[in-house]
Amino acid sequence: MAINDNDIAFLIEQVRQAGEIEIMPRFRNLVDGDIAEKTSAIDLVTQADLLAEERITKALRQRFPQALIVGEEAYDADRSVVPALNHAELAFVIDPVDGTFNFAAGLPMFGTILAVVANGETVAGIIHDPILGDTITAVAGGGAHLTRRNGSSKRLKVAAPKPISAMTGIVAWAHMGEPERSRIAGNMAKLRMSFYYNCSAYEYWMLACGKIDFVSHQTLNPWDHLAGLLIHREAGGYSAHYDGSAHRPGEMTGGIIAAADRESWETVRREIIGL
């Protein structure tokens, strides 16, 4: 099933409205009962996540009644929705508030992510900044763009390839077990600079804008990665699983490295991931 320009405009509008109505009024305005721990003290869910996902899901169901809708909160209720992404004719994957730890701590680094998957391929991706109302988007084959709230738009391009000692990159080693955790944490010292924002929306934002050189994750929650990986690819980047195979939307394992090109990908795999 094809998704057209009107559909994309509709999706951006839904994400924008969820930010204005459900997310921003709660930023730095949560009371204790609004935040709940999921798996640990750094895995949180807030009223903003729940209500924004509910609002976007409702709008999608009205316009696309046959589509599969996968959200972080929907997945907690039914785990079969993720493998179903590899076969669904049309699916939407939502992360209402990516960077919930930041959101709950009052840090202005969080985003709303929406990916469109058709027949096992990510065909569109949207990452929205609810604070300023700016959005990065990509449609497969159409390039990646940053669109400001005022409507101005520019095309995005990944950074030029460079040697490992000049790279700035992000690896989510804190989410890994041993021995990868210690090995990769130590390898990060080879880079020009590394940092960690607890927010994949901004990792992909910076990657697609050419402000950082690579991102790597071991666990691939589709709501965190599908939109960003497409936007990165459309900005000229190269990504693949740790074993070199292409990532499919319903796969949560196998790791990912997203870098400027194939050669940079191999450098990061060898020097940082240590494979």
Binding site: S40, A105, D129, I131, E178, A185, N187, R192, S194, Y196
Partner: protein, 274 residues
Amino acid sequence: MTAAVDITLLANLLRDAAQAEILPRFRRLAAGDIRIKSEATDLVTEADEQAERMIKREVERLWPDAVFIGEESVAAHPDLLGKLEGADLAIIVDPVDGTFNFAAGVPAFGVMASVVVRGETVAGIIFDPMGDDWVMAEKGSGAWLRRPSGEAERLKVAAPVALEHMTGFASTGFIDKRKRAEVMGNLAKVRFASNYRCAAHEYRTFAGGHVHYAMYNKILPWDHLAGVLISEEAGAYAARFDGSRYLPHHFDGGLLLTPDKASWDMLRQEVFTL
């Protein structure tokens, strides 16, 4: 004593500068508006320079006896930094803390100021242009989150937890290359290490009790004086790596902040083995 400086005036000045010179430039910088200072990740933008110019002009008008020390003023006149130690009154300003983020279009940046009276930090202010609020402290009066509406909320650091449950901020980029791999490997012992490349937001988050530690190796006064005072007033234990108290004229020796002394000793021994 802060009688010399009305902290509300200084706080409002930071907000005015953010609104006039910083926010209008966010995600709108042209290539020529960003310049490299010491290296590719050390940047200065038109926002830094124009905001500092505005704050300096007003500080000189409001507090003509104060020594003004701004990050960009020091970049132009390095000997200015030497005036901090002997000054009766100094006002230290970072016009855009988190310039790398600002220039990359990432909304984690802040505006900071501190007041130093005869070698002691007596007040610290961190303004967040995105959230339009301040965290601030005057020595002995607690740390507070304040909003322009007048609402205020007292800040308190997190309760101490065991090493493997600690989350926090580690700014490892300025550690000597040979030691860096060891420290970064040690970080695998804690639950989580983040680095937002923005001391303003890291101190805000630490003092608000959302994480358990903050570590810095490069300690220039405009990056740390305000945040350390605010953290201490929120109950933190702060010291340089050798255990000594951090003072405004210290420009090296690192800095580690934790909820209490026991957490500090644990992290110093297990993780920050510098």
